[in-house]
Symmetry: D2
Subunit: 373 residues, 4 copies
């Protein structure tokens, strides 16, 4: 996109961006893709908001750079990133130039403020016994990222007022992101399928035909997402700038399915896990010298009760705990809410072409493709 | 069922049970319907389990009563009940008499042990600020209920060895329970629909056509459950014992839908709520003198930021927090896992009758219903 | 509705209508409920149409009655009805009085014209061998019903210009009709379930677990529709006029499900029927002296080949033949397209009440229902 | 597969097959892939059938070749093919060698008999006016193909008794076929989407938000199938024999979706088309000098009535007429019924690997992938 901006506007964003990218790659840095604004009243565009900071914008232009203010919500992994790459949130009108800004800052730049988001069951991570967390070693976080008058030097500014490119930039970033879920959420789904296979083994239920069939259904849904992810890439093509762009339509198709199937996979997982998923005593009760042995005796199924305890916690984690933030709600909203994809699909599909095909087949239009000789 | 047992076996369970019921009603007591056993290996029946206590059973018969041992899992509201009415978990074979036992004990009977189940986000209830709980005043609990050699006097025993009635008892109890979800889960669903209406108002998004359409879909699914609940009762009939029995087939239909629609309603709720549902800062951050004002500034939408904060916590509660235990997982497993209803449906539907109809219509069987004269 | 019109406008429609009804009941006549107009351009209301006849209207008022012109489409069973009861198609604006007309005429009134609609596979009924029709004795028809300047005497006019009651009339008629599908389509569904049970028996496949499970699913969906139908009636109530009115909200819920489940039932039916459903040779080939024996030899499964032949034709009839008109497309559009129900649901659901509930639960509104003492 | 058979059994099938393929390509011949046997009782394997001809088999081995008997059902496009490539129907046991036969014959070989299958609405093609067919120029056919003692010379025999390769051959052929539907059915779907766009334009309904949203849903489902088709190929790989093999798991995923989505697309199409789809008068009535003008007057919407007439017939064709055979029922059964894909998915998915992942994440197995240093 920087390449195309330069071509049209004579700017040198592409060169600046390449330098930044080389710096990032040489130092093996983690960069947070930072797009989603606070957004205030959803029915108003950036310029119409009572509080102009509802969308991050340029509040001052200086000789050596710009000063920005605003807040980017829901930033995944922000706290463990080195750099932040900020982009505008959405398509902008011509007079909304101050919001058309793209730049990079290090996470420890002056004026940056981070407010950690609460996740379901987050405080279990602070308890002594880690079993109740479910996912023993891993987790993530989303962070409210406040830019409280942050200075950005010119060489780190990659867009500044080019409202005519905001749409392209947003659609492409969202496109890559929507495709990426065809891998990310599928991997998580794989572990959930494995967990369900495990728990039904432990319970002694894995040979029942409905159990096997439901696991097939989970796999089917998960692999459909995988297929969508693969297809985005396979149908991608080289751009003038030299990078490869995924197929935008298929990326939106991919993400739209991601807003549905993980929820159904999670529902089936809860079916096969059994009710202990949500009524299991705390890990402290399992360890309690008096009560513990009875708890274990009565949660024993076809395998060791600790296995069942741990695996149920893992399934709880992914379907309603910390992990559900990433596996479910992020599947819904990350890279844009479902309706955002539907709008893109309606734009990218050529309905007129399809209408012509139909009109030829039923004889409304003449069909020149046919040559009966 | 006690009535029918007496008729067949000459016992006097019905009289005993009526006395118990009168006692309960006169003292306005809460009784826990206590059915689900620990169950050990799911592929083995009670008599085949390595540990005979996997299903609650009679371990001693005395002159004045019986002594029982076992564990009933997942008991909703046990801690706030006065009495426990214990029933066998499932159909039993003739030689599994010791598990065919039905009785009542007060919750504080000697030998009773209760282990409180953990719920998602449970410890938020212990935090100072209650906003993060979502549902400020209400909650529930499921309790592992251990009968550690508990004595039951004869007048409190309502079944003792009558394996031939275990199926009937289980099917009827489950039937009532499956019907009841056509009210219980619908009410919860109503509050979730209201919460979603509220949050879209606060966000300024409630006029978008997809938003309105999704709320209609939530209502449609919820009211379908309600219709199923009503139909169970409307099609019920009086039994020989004088009580009314709901339509068993429709009760199973009702519950089967309950294992599906609340999950879809919750999925739509998460769509319309927006991502802040899972990335919202803690109530402490909202109250923090330094950070608080910024948090509020940036979570302000079309209405007051505290409204949004509270309502998102309520939706979180129902879709992944404490409330999700009751609204989702209990919808799945309470009163029996989905497959249990499917087995009942296949038993209660008369396929032969339907086959006959079809064979008459296509001329395989003669159709005596027709008289063309 | 006539009762309420009289109360407001001082008319005597109710008396007229009761006389008509008594006449109908005493002579045991079939009356076609005739609502759906031709409707021209869907984006225009009756008064805006280039051709005013797009909606049936009064073209002349005479001393002894009115003359009407227009066309009612899709009239089920018109040809086998004695009388036609015409109602306006939809809500009308104040200045659209000429379209606010309700009356009855006998089917052989002068000026009436009927154009029989084509159904899928209709001409099979004209073939010598009836097996290929599938449903040997029964069928139906929808008829384009043209009112070419038809005279209606005053005693047969039940509404004439009362635009303020058009909405009520339409909503109630549609309501009853939407409820009735909870019986009608369920009965047809029962025969389809029976047909599928039969064909899997004939094929030797009925013991496979996925086959049994799919039949359970068909039953589950069908009985859900049945439950919705029952609920509409059970929740109905007496009106001031003395007749009983079904619960309008539940009637719309019922019909909305009818626009979905029969299609899924038909899909499963096609799965279990097997591919011969659509590749089966003609009945003439079965009877052919040369080819017939080979055709029978190779369509023989676990039962007599003629049974299979007939039953597959019956399933074809219901899922893509004449019967599919009534079982599928009428389930979609009869009594109004799906969107019509959604609009009604959104009107009849009290969202504000549900919002209040949610606001009380999360502490936005004070909860006066609670009294902790 | 012939390559691998030769490697194991020292046969020369590969050479024979290559010769056949070169012959086909040089003469640009159409070859019918001929797999599905009559199959008799579904619960019995080929060797257990009362009639051994239920599965095509070798009835005589001669010096110059073999003689085969049996019947292949549902052969798409058989009548317009030059050659038939016959394969066994399914996995075979060691003692079922006579059914393990693969060969090619020209369609006019002595002993071949063809019985044309009836399609829904087939006789409309014989009527004078072609409009009611819907798809004016195109159609297809499935043919019962009887091999009544047909001789096959050795150079045309590609498998003869190698039961150990029947599974591989069937799975691969089915795999390619299942992938191919990710293109074939998507193309048909495109024309249906176009038809629906057209009819809503003609009706004046295409600007309604629910109409646009439903078209997006149709596109979404159709493109998901397309993505699955693309993914099968993109994830394919070269075999030892030199040809490319699609990804078998994804091919089964693709087909499984094909058994669902076209039905939902067709359902939506019927919604948006309106009820005239199934109640439209015959083309003869449109042309009738007396009735015709009235029919046209009252079927006029926002565009020319003939356009509407033709387009509705096209949608009827695809959703319940001749075209529904290919678009719906073939989507269900072609290349194997849904359950066939589920069995393949359960075989091709590595559940143990997924179980290991889950056990590592919740601490049951040690996680050697982690190195915290
Ligand atoms: C929130 C909640 C509240 C509850 N409240 C009560 C209550 O108040 N009183 C009460 O008595 N009970 C209560 N229950 C218990 C409920 O009835 C059980 O959860 C339910 O019967 C399922 O049993 P389970 O949890 O042991 O699951 P499991 O039996 O372990 O089932 C897990 C999965 O395995 C399958 N499966 C298990 N065994 C077999 C088998 N043999 N063959 C085939 N498939 C099998 C199931 O179909 C399911 O898919 C509650 C449960 C929950 C979750
Ligand atoms: C777990 C998680 C991780 C995320 N990670 C990142 C990240 O790393 N980087 C990043 O930049 N962003 C991230 N996001 C943000 C994500 O892109 C947004 O959540 C998404 O764009 C939706 O915005 P929102 O949450 O404000 O919801 P809202 O915009 O409030 O949407 C709520 C509902 O209202 C509807 N709606 C809103 N406005 C309108 C309108 N004007 N017209 C019609 N309907 C409307 C939506 O369709 C939706 O149904 C993440 C989000 C989540 C939940
Ligand atoms: C339009 C169309 C075009 C086709 N084109 C071709 C073609 O070109 N070439 C070709 O070779 N074939 C073709 N086929 C055949 C196709 O592969 C078969 O239809 C398919 O394999 C299903 O077999 P069936 O129709 O005999 O159904 P059945 O096998 O009778 O299946 C009916 C139902 O019974 C179930 N069932 C059957 N047997 C069992 C069992 N043992 N255990 C459990 N469940 C069972 C099935 O799962 C299914 O639900 C075509 C089919 C159709 C409909
Ligand atoms: C088999 C069958 C039997 C029937 N039997 C009877 C009967 O006995 N008596 C009787 O009176 N009627 C009967 N009907 C008519 C039925 O009520 C209508 O089909 C129905 O109201 C839909 O109208 P339509 O067919 O003109 O479709 P359309 O109105 O053309 O609808 C097609 C699509 O366009 C949409 N649409 C249309 N207009 C608008 C708009 N303004 N805004 C938004 N979306 C729009 C619809 O929602 C739908 O998705 C029958 C119909 C069928 C199919
Ligand atoms: Fe993210
Ligand atoms: Fe409960
Ligand atoms: Fe009708
Ligand atoms: Fe085919």
């Amino acid at each position: 996109t920087t390449f195309e901006m330069d071509a049209k506007h004579g700017t040198d964003y592409h060169e600046r961006f390449k330098k930044f990218l080389i710096y990032v790659q040489q130092n093996d840095l983690v960069v947070d893709g930072c797009m989603t604004d606070a957004r205030g009243d959803r029915s108003k565009s950036p310029g119409q908001q009572p509080d102009p900071d509802a969308y991050l914008h340029v509040v001052e232009k200086r000789e050596d750079g710009i000063v920005v203010r605003g807040c980017k919500l829901h930033q995944t992994g922000m706290i463990n990133s080195h750099e932040i790459l900020v982009m505008p949130n959405n398509a902008l009108k011509e007079d909304e130039q101050e919001w058309a800004v793209c730049f990079a800052v290090p996470t420890d730049a002056p004026g940056m403020l981070y407010v950690y988001g609460r996740q379901s069951c987050d405080t279990r991570k602070l308890e002594d016994n880690k079993i109740d967390v479910g996912n023993i070693n891993f987790g993530g976080q989303e962070v409210m990222t406040i830019f409280n008058n942050v200075f950005v030097p010119w060489e780190r500014v990659f867009m500044n007022g080019e409202t005519d490119f905001s749409t392209t930039l947003v659609e492409r970033f969202a496109g890559y992101h929507r495709q990426s879920y065809g891998g990310c959420k599928v991997g998580t789904g794989d572990t959930l399928i494995g967990a369900v296979k495990a728990i039904t083994d432990y319970n002694g239920a894995s040979k029942a035909s409905h159990v096997k069939d439901k696991i097939v259904e989970m796999c089917h849904l998960n692999e459909t997402l995988f297929a969508c992810g693969i297809a985005c890439s396979a149908a991608g093509r080289k751009t003038a700038a030299g990078n490869y762009l995924i197929d935008l339509l298929l990326a939106n198709i991919c993400k739209q399915n991601v807003t549905r199937f993980p929820y159904e996979i999670a529902r089936i997982a809860q079916d096969l896990a059994g009710g202990l998923l949500v009524t299991q005593p705390s890990a402290q009760d399992y360890d309690n010298p008096e009560i513990g042995p009875l708890v274990k005796k009565y949660t024993q199924a076809a395998d060791d009760s600790e296995k069942r305890q741990r695996m149920l916690r893992y399934i709880e984690n992914l379907t309603m705990g910390c992990g559900a933030v990433g596996y479910l709600t992020e599947s819904m909203h990350g890279a844009g809410s479902p309706q955002a994809q539907r709008i893109m699909i309606s734009r990218l599909i050529d309905l007129q072409h399809r209408k012509d095909l139909a009109e030829k087949l039923c004889g409304i239009q003449e069909n020149h493709d046919i040559d009966w000789k």
